[in-house]
């Protein structure tokens, strides 16, 4: 660990503008990384597989925008169901509050598309360009055949994957089997429409740019969630945390020494955090984290640390591997930072080092601030219960609402042109348009009856005095002109009700309206 790791040169330090430093996350294995890989496989698996699944003879998940219908497995949604989409967003919000208050930024570490696709792009980068050191060397070196070949194959992989991603994305909106059959160069005529082509390429470009190049900059500079973490965190929230009482003062040492807890006990918090602050200002390790942390930004003048005898050192050997593995390039030892996406790479890396040194694991661990500071922790606290109950209630209400949606929508609009008209024989007529939506996936018959005073009847209602039977094909919106007729002498405004009932009795709707005669 004495050999300095060569660092990249991007800026001579003289300009005020500091270009973004490229981060080369070092590969690491461990518990958290295993969970992240599982999350990548499950989530991306869902994305790439769902459009290919079938349900009732149609695509299982299809957002059919031209027809204004969304299909999600057994459910279908109409524009009238917008309220459920709004509710779903509220549920998503509460889920975010709940999980963040409980266990920090789980979303960022495991579920955010930005993280998930970046992870896959990083794997491809590792396959083609090698590990962290090899990548840094390759970038710093001159362009030669090797570099061209490695960079070229990386971008070829990225590009194919990005294009497939764009194709899958469009496949959620256009039946994907048909889209695949019409693929340019491979499929049959007529090929893709201009907008299909545009969205495939656009989404591919966005994937390539975000996961290949922007990466952690999206989290640091574009994501609002990171900036609101302090509103959702408290001292009982599980976070990725370094234990300075055990780790400080940091420094290299020979192997074979006992762990700090056994050898000299834990420091008090004040001393430990002071050591952290001073160490952050006079970096001794081989790798420096880009400085955006409170510890280094405040501009406080601090004294350099004295030289500690090996027996005085804490468990942190200052190997900086926790910094090297960090996908956002921060130093977690500087404390909680909004840049931390809670991926746990530093935990896995540090556990590995602790194992090698023969120290107990958990110098960096997934814990609460209270636990780190040696205070009692209460994970199940009022705010967690409140968020949890609200979330549960909303989910139940949503499921109930979706399950009990009426498969029928009926609306009646009065004709605008005239209030009423008189026929040759002196009867009074009013015109209406019935908008009838059969949301069912099968054709249905509906019975329309009229409930009205003063002898008002439905014209064309047959001999039974105003009943019509309407055939509605599956998932169709019908616009039916209706005429009501009343005997001579009906005057003024009359309240009426159109009653629409499905023949099988599974749904019905009462639509109130008005009938006008001469005033």
């Amino acid at each position: 660990m004495t050999k300095k790791i060569p660092l990249d040169l991007l800026d001579d330090g003289s300009a005020l503008y500091v270009s973004e430093r490229k981060i080369y996350p070092r590969d690491v294995d461990g518990r958290f990384q295993t969970w992240r890989k599982i999350a990548v496989v499950v989530l991306l698996g869902m994305f790439y597989v769902f459009p290919w699944l079938r349900w009732d003879g149609r695509q299982a998940v299809l957002f059919d925008l031209p027809a204004r219908k969304f299909y999600v497995f057994g459910l279908n949604f109409w524009p009238q169901d917008f309220v459920f989409l709004a509710m779903l967003l509220v549920i998503a919000g509460f889920a975010l509050f709940f999980f963040t208050a409980l266990a920090g930024r789980l979303w960022c570490g495991y579920a955010c598309p930005q993280t998930v696709w970046t992870e896959v792009f990083l794997w491809m980068e590792q396959w083609t360009e090698g590990d962290r050191n090899a990548r840094m060397k390759l970038d710093a070196g001159p362009w030669n055949r090797n570099k061209l070949l490695r960079k070229g194959s990386k971008h070829a992989l990225w590009l194919v994957f990005a294009l497939w991603t764009g194709f899958t994305f469009v496949g959620f909106f256009t039946p994907i089997t048909d889209l695949a059959a019409r693929a340019p160069l491979l499929g049959s005529a007529p090929g893709w429409g201009n907008w299909e082509l545009f969205w495939v390429l656009f989404y591919a470009l966005a994937t390539w740019g975000n996961a290949g190049f922007l990466r952690e900059q999206v989290c640091k500079y574009m994501c609002p969630y990171a900036r609101f973490q302090s509103a959702m965190f408290d001292r009982n929230t599980l976070i990725i945390a370094y234990d300075p009482m055990r780790g400080e003062p940091r420094g290299p040492r020979k192997r074979g020494m006992k762990g700090a807890a056994e050898r000299r006990g834990l420091l008090d918090a004040k001393t430990a955090y002071d050591y952290v602050l001073r160490a952050a200002h006079y970096v001794t390790g081989s790798v420096v984290a880009p400085g955006t942390t409170a510890v280094t930004d405040t501009g406080i003048k601090v004294e350099p640390l004295p030289r500690f005898a090996p027996e005085e050192l804490g468990d942190c050997i200052d190997c900086t591997i926790c910094v090297q593995v960090c996908p956002t390039g921060i130093d977690i030892r500087n404390g909680l930072q909004y840049e931390c996406i809670a991926c746990g790479a530093c935990i896995d890396a540090c556990d590995d080092v602790m194992d090698k040194m023969g120290y107990p694991r958990g110098l960096i661990r997934y814990s609460t601030q209270n636990a780190i500071d040696g205070k009692p922790t209460r994970v199940l606290r009022p705010r967690v219960f409140v968020y949890g109950l609200l979330l549960l209630a909303l989910c139940a209400a949503w499921a109930w609402g979706v399950g009990n949606r009426s498969p029928l929508i009926a609306e009646v609009l009065r004709d605008r042109n005239a209030l009423y008209r008189e026929t040759g024989d002196g009867r009074i007529e009013n015109g209406y348009t019935l908008k009838l939506v059969n949301k069912d996936v099968k054709a249905q018959q509906f019975r329309l009856t009229l409930q009205a005073p003063a002898g008002i009847t439905l014209v064309g209602g047959g001999s039974s005095g105003g009943t019509q039977v309407i055939d509605a094909p599956a998932e169709q919106v019908l616009n039916l002109p209706l005429t009501l007729s009343s005997p001579k002498g009906v005057r003024g405004k009359q309240e009426i009700v159109f009653k629409v009932q499905r023949i099988d009795g599974a749904a019905q709707a009462d639509v109130p309206s008005t009938f006008f005669g001469p005033m």
Partner: protein
Amino acid sequence: MPDYTVPRFDHPPRPLAQRLGAILWPSFFSAAVMTMVFFAFVDPLALRDMTFPDMPLTRTLGYSIAFFMFWLATAASSAFTWILLRPASRYNRPLPPE
């Protein structure tokens, strides 16, 4: 290489009037222009007939509702920009004591 260990220039918080002004004024201006352009082509009464035909909306009310909806959207966008441009040190603070 740039020295990441020296304290970086960290702009102090700006006055409240400046923050509010920088968020509300540009968004107000954009909303006004959008309202004018939008209603140069669309009649609010036609819009009403397509959406809520039973509501007693007048043209003036239609213009007003649309303007405030535009302003809400543009102001939200400006506020988002402000949040993203605040320096990291405003966020990277220790958790508050219990």
